[in-house]
């Protein structure tokens, strides 16, 4: 990404103008809003839809909103939604087919997705988008559905002003500061009466957008204040993951007894795969109507936690919850590295928060690392001379 010099200051009162500029350019604005006692990503009509004055408290299996004592617009971390639901939609029709005598015609979908502007993308999620780009755009072929949504996406990142109870972006080197992948990146500053954003520009599109709205250069003090905020966030991480040698560690320990331990807790509910911003697995459903004349193929999100996922004639290859949890975690943290050159995990902690029983992959990894020797003990119990 080309270096764009200088940082700007955007007053909170003028943020709506950024929204207006994006709408004028034909973008559909998507960003955080409060719904059903969580902060989710939805279409936004104005700045008023942002979760003003809300914070979130997260821990294993726990998520609560609580009121802040200020009016920060981005005073929270990440919720159950990620940007993948827009770029890699949960349900998508691939084509329709019409019977023609003994034959049939396939009718391609006229896929015309909206041009999205994402407001409030955290650094971890920028990495998640890059991880999905690698899988769905830059591997042997590109997924046309993902590409159509990704190409025109305008991204306004937000540098986190606070870390979450399950966050570990520092361990995964994915934040808290946004360093790439954005058109604009903002740090929210509240100082007494003042409420403004220090804005960094990432692309030409970002330059064009910022030029349409009232702004001025950010002073040294303001820039320092923004940097201070992000630096402080880095010290507040709720979790940590030791990533040294993690691929080899997990490759060595496919039979570690810890997998039995986690299997006794895991419900295979698949929440983690739904909230994880990098999980990309899908399935295909072929359906027809009662007349048998019209058929459709749909693609929808799928999860490796289901029995169907690994089904071959005769049975499922991963018949036990133990093997399915192990598949998810070793894919995310180990085999992903061999497949795509990076970890699949970006340290957002959503899987920890949204697991109903609070399974924490940082803890599972730690347990395996610390008890690795114990995992390879022999089996026999010696019963003496009886």
């Amino acid at each position: 990404m080309t270096q764009f010099q200088g940082k700007f200051r955007l007053e909170r009162a003028h943020l709506q103008r950024l929204f207006d500029a994006l709408i004028r350019r034909g973008y559909q604005i998507v960003g955080p809003t409060v719904r059903d006692r969580a902060i989710v990503y939805e279409q936004l009509n104005s700045v008023a839809d942002l979760p003003m004055g809300w914070a979130d408290e997260q821990d294993g299996g726990s998520y609560r909103l609580k009121k802040r004592d200020d009016e920060a617009l981005f005073g929270f971390t990440v919720g159950p939604h990620s940007w993948k639901q827009f770029l890699h939609p949960p349900k998508q029709r691939l084509w329709r087919a019409e019977r023609q005598g003994k034959s049939f015609d396939i009718i391609q979908e006229d896929d015309k997705p909206p041009k999205y502007a994402f407001i409030g993308v955290r650094s971890c999620d920028l990495h998640a988008i890059a991880v999905q780009d690698r899988v769905l755009l830059h591997d042997r072929s590109a997924d046309p559905i993902y590409r159509a949504r990704r190409e025109d996406c305008f991204i306004v990142a937000v540098n986190c002003g606070q870390a979450g109870g399950t966050c570990f972006c520092v361990s995964m080197m994915t934040g808290p500061k946004a360093t790439f992948g954005f058109d604009l990146a903002m740090t929210e500053v509240l100082e007494g009466e003042r409420h403004y954003f220090v804005v960094e520009v990432g692309t030409e599109k970002g330059v064009e957008a910022i030029n349409e709205i009232t702004h001025c250069e950010a002073g040294d003090g303001e820039q320092a204040r923004a940097e201070q905020i992000v630096a402080r966030t880095a010290t507040q991480m709720g979790r940590a993951m030791e990533t040294a040698d993690i691929k080899e560690l997990l490759y060595r320990n496919y039979e570690h007894p810890r997998w039995d331990d986690v299997a006794s807790r895991c419900l295979t509910c698949a929440n983690c795969t739904m909230v994880c911003p990098t999980c990309f697995c899908t399935t295909v459903e072929d359906v027809s109507d009662l007349t048998g004349e019209h058929a459709e193929r749909w693609r929808r999100w799928d999860s490796c936690f289901t029995m169907d996922f690994s089904y071959v004639h005769g049975g499922s290859v991963r018949a036990t919850p133990r093997s399915r949890y192990r598949q998810w975690m070793t894919h995310k943290l180990a085999t992903w590295i061999d497949q795509f050159g990076t970890s699949g995990c970006i340290g957002c902690g959503r899987c920890i928060t949204w697991c109903p029983v609070g399974i924490d992959l940082t803890e599972e990894t730690r347990a395996i690392r610390e008890t690795e020797a114990a995992g390879s003990q022999s089996r026999e119990g010696i019963s003496g001379n009886a």
């Binding site: 071959v312 004639h313 049975g315 089996r379 026999e380 119990g381 010696i382 001379n385 009886a386």
Partner: protein, 153 residues
Amino acid sequence: METLEPLLTAHPFFRDLAQGDTRLLTGCAKNVRFEAGQVIFREGEDADQFYLIRDGKVALEVFITERGSAPILTLGAGDALGWSWLIPPYKWRFDARALETTLAFALDGKCLRGKCDEDPRLGYELLKRIAAIIGDRLHATRLQMLDVYGARD
């Protein structure tokens, strides 16, 4: 001092084996116990023990990808388990799992091979017994395979 010798002598495998030979082989033996469900050995692992089951039940299994562990034979008190310790490359060719609490003697494979190398006559005695067991198993397996209970196609 109590040794395993009298108990080994009582096991069917050692029937009619000379006292001196039994004593010698006791040096390779220890008592082992497996809890119900416990894996005794897995296909591919080093085959370094010869097990003589005293009490309990053991399933010989093969792991089939889409089926999981498929049992092929059940062994119990008085049975011998495993002969891959005798034949290079000394790797187990099947899985074995205790179905209930199982007590057994485990005779160390290397120790046994060593003693047989030193005294080929002892080796011959052991081999005769093991050949008999293998022969019985082969015969039984062939009968199993013929699927004689199945309805005619």
